[in-house]
């Protein structure tokens, strides 16, 4: 039972990730590899705020979301001038930069959480406090799942409202033809900045949930592998609509668990899982470029 609850918590976290990444990939039409970096920044922000300043869960994830939204300018400003492959590259540079900051912002002689040793480098942050809202502690997985599900539903609601709003329709028109949208007087630069900031703010929630659930965070959550996993979710599930990313998150969370029952040797299980993600990406591009349930083909 506990195993199933852990899986559901991960599913909640990755639903937030996939839905927020869908805002960038599916509605702006840009592939971003920097999403894991914002996810990790959200997690680290929550961890440090809760550990060092004793912030409650809600204020801490609020501040984490604001930090990520501000940092997302590093991705959205290049998006003013870059499209296609070269935007992917710029987002990869942001990912590498943030990963390298998290990995290197450490000093063995200073205490964790000071300016000299903000992230504790490769050793990560242990003992992150469990989530606490108004005196209620979500310490056990059975209670934490309610918080995770509530947050996932809230994020899904935000994305759904945005999609239905006039703002969401302008976003789609920009994806289809940016020049036409601009000629109709729409400020597409501001639109990209807003969409990427909202997506990065939302993924900060997912990062904070992960940090509060596992109680330990290290730089690997900002790694390129993590970004590739997130991108695979939206590409396998499909982008441009609401159910695609959710199906993608479900498939990519469930697949490795099914492999677990195949009794593979432990040494190769992790590699085999990643290899299958890679193979899925290739096959998807050949046979179903819009993903399992998507409605937009990547350009």
């Amino acid at each position: 039972m506990n195993y199933l609850i852990h899986l559901l918590i991960y599913f909640d976290i990755y639903v937030i990730v996939a839905l927020s990444l869908n805002l960038i990939v599916g509605y702006c039409g840009m592939l971003s590899l920097a999403h894991a970096a914002f996810y990790a920044v959200g997690g680290y922000a929550y961890a440090l705020l809760a550990l060092k300043l004793g912030c409650g869960f809600l204020p801490a994830i609020g501040i984490a979301a604001v930090i990520c939204a501000l940092l997302s300018l590093a991705v959205s400003l290049p998006a003013w001038r870059l499209k296609g492959d070269f935007f992917v590259l710029a987002s990869l540079a942001v990912q590498a930069l943030i990963f390298s900051l998290i990995y290197n912002w450490s000093d063995a002689n200073a205490a964790l959480g000071t300016w000299q040793n903000l992230t504790n480098g490769p050793f990560g942050i242990p003992g992150i406090p469990k989530a606490e809202i108004a005196g209620l502690r979500f310490a056990r997985p059975t209670s934490f799942i309610w918080l995770a599900t509530a947050l996932a539903v809230a994020c899904a609601f935000i994305v759904w409202r945005l999609k239905k709003s006039p703002w969401g329709r302008v976003l789609v028109s920009m994806r289809e033809d940016e020049l036409a949208a601009r000629s109709l007087g729409k400020n597409t630069r501001l639109l990209k900045v807003q969409a990427i900031a909202i997506a990065s703010g939302l993924v900060a929630f997912a990062g904070a949930l992960y940090a509060a659930h596992v109680s330990y965070l290290d730089p690997s959550s900002a790694s390129l592998d993590e970004s590739i996993l997130m991108l695979s979710m939206v590409i396998v599930g499909g982008v441009g609509n609401f159910r695609g990313p959710i199906i993608g998150a479900l498939v990519l969370i469930a697949l490795p668990e099914l492999l677990r029952f195949a009794h593979l040797p432990d040494a190769i299980a992790a590699n085999l899982r990643l290899g299958i993600y890679g193979l899925l990406l290739v096959l998807m591009m050949h046979f179903r470029p819009q993903g399992l349930a998507g409605e937009y083909r990547l350009s």
Partner: protein, 301 residues
């Protein structure tokens, strides 16, 4: 006085030489990447998988008892074969369907992931080395170079000058440049686009494999070296200019010099941060690179 000046100069020359040599390894991969990118517009991340694979192939051949003189050509040939397979099984088919640049990029990323995970499954994740014991050293006007660094410098210089000469002077070079310029018109003149794309992929595979073997001989290798090498190469392409074949080579050398300076002045652990910073600066301020033509964003996308 004289001695003081030399002792101040020596680390400078040493850092310069180290930078140029590591830069030449980047330049080789950058030219390999550009050989595919310019004629076919495929963002060939799968190259990183080939780069990772080559030293393992040599190790495999060596363990099977083949001498280096047989093992190296075999490893190079197998790498070229994998590059051709990437085009033949994946990119050519996608291109025939009129797939988007994004589809090529994602499938190429998928190929990279599959290759690297296969390597990890067959040979493990740990760092391996191609030679045992200390390298021989060569003293060069007060600086010290290892034998493998010298080998790297000579082979890289020969290959880079060779391929630039081929591109400039031979008819196959002219045809590849024509394909890069305008694939549709190239086809209309009756040239075989598919065959020329295969040639471009073969060149890329050979260059990446050569750079990979040289670096592996110097520093050792693990399954994840490839992506790092290709990312550096793409940064070199952006620095040098994405519309020229010579630009990436010069961009690679410059990037090597900058990274060597970072090691000297800051610390090796900030190399990646500075590299990303350089990339961001170029993308924002000079997206066409040092030697590229300036084009409108709508025309390049």
């Amino acid at each position: 006085m004289q001695k003081d000046a030399t002792s101040k100069l020596t680390p400078f020359v040493q850092i310069l030489l180290n930078g140029l040599i590591s830069g030449s390894a980047i330049a080789l991969v950058a030219v390999a990447f550009q050989m595919v990118y310019l004629p076919t517009r495929v963002f060939f991340i799968g190259l990183a998988g080939i780069y990772s694979l080559t030293p393992y192939l040599l190790l495999f051949a060596a363990k099977a008892g083949a001498p280096l003189a047989v093992g190296i050509p075999l490893a190079l040939a197998a790498s070229v074969f994998v590059a051709l397979a990437c085009e033949w099984l994946n990119h050519a088919r996608l291109a025939r369907k009129g797939a988007s640049d994004g589809a090529h990029l994602i499938s190429s990323l998928g190929i990279y992931i599959v290759l690297v995970q296969l390597i990890a499954i067959f040979w493990g994740n740990d760092t391996k080395s191609l030679h045992i014991g200390l390298d021989s050293t060569v003293h060069f006007s007060g600086s010290v170079l290892t034998g493998s660094q010298l080998l790297m410098a000579c082979v890289a210089a020969a290959l880079l000058l060779g391929v630039l000469a081929i591109l400039r002077a031979s008819s196959i070079g002219l045809r590849l440049r024509a394909l890069a310029d305008n694939p549709t018109q190239f086809a209309l003149f009756g040239f075989d686009v598919d065959a020329h794309r295969l040639i471009a992929f073969a060149f890329a595979g050979a260059f990446a494999a050569a750079s990979s073997l040289l670096t592996a001989y110097d520093l050792g290798f693990d399954p994840y070296t490839g992506l790092h090498a290709v990312l550096l190469a793409v940064v070199a392409v952006i620095i040098g200019g994405r519309h020229s074949f010579a630009g990436p080579a010069i961009g690679g050398l410059l990037l090597g010099l900058v990274r060597a300076q970072v090691v000297w002045h800051l610390s090796a652990r900030w190399q990646e941060a500075v590299t990303s910073g350089v990339l961001a600066l170029f993308l924002l301020l000079r997206p066409h690179g040092l030697f590229g033509k300036k084009t409108r964003i709508e025309a390049t996308a």
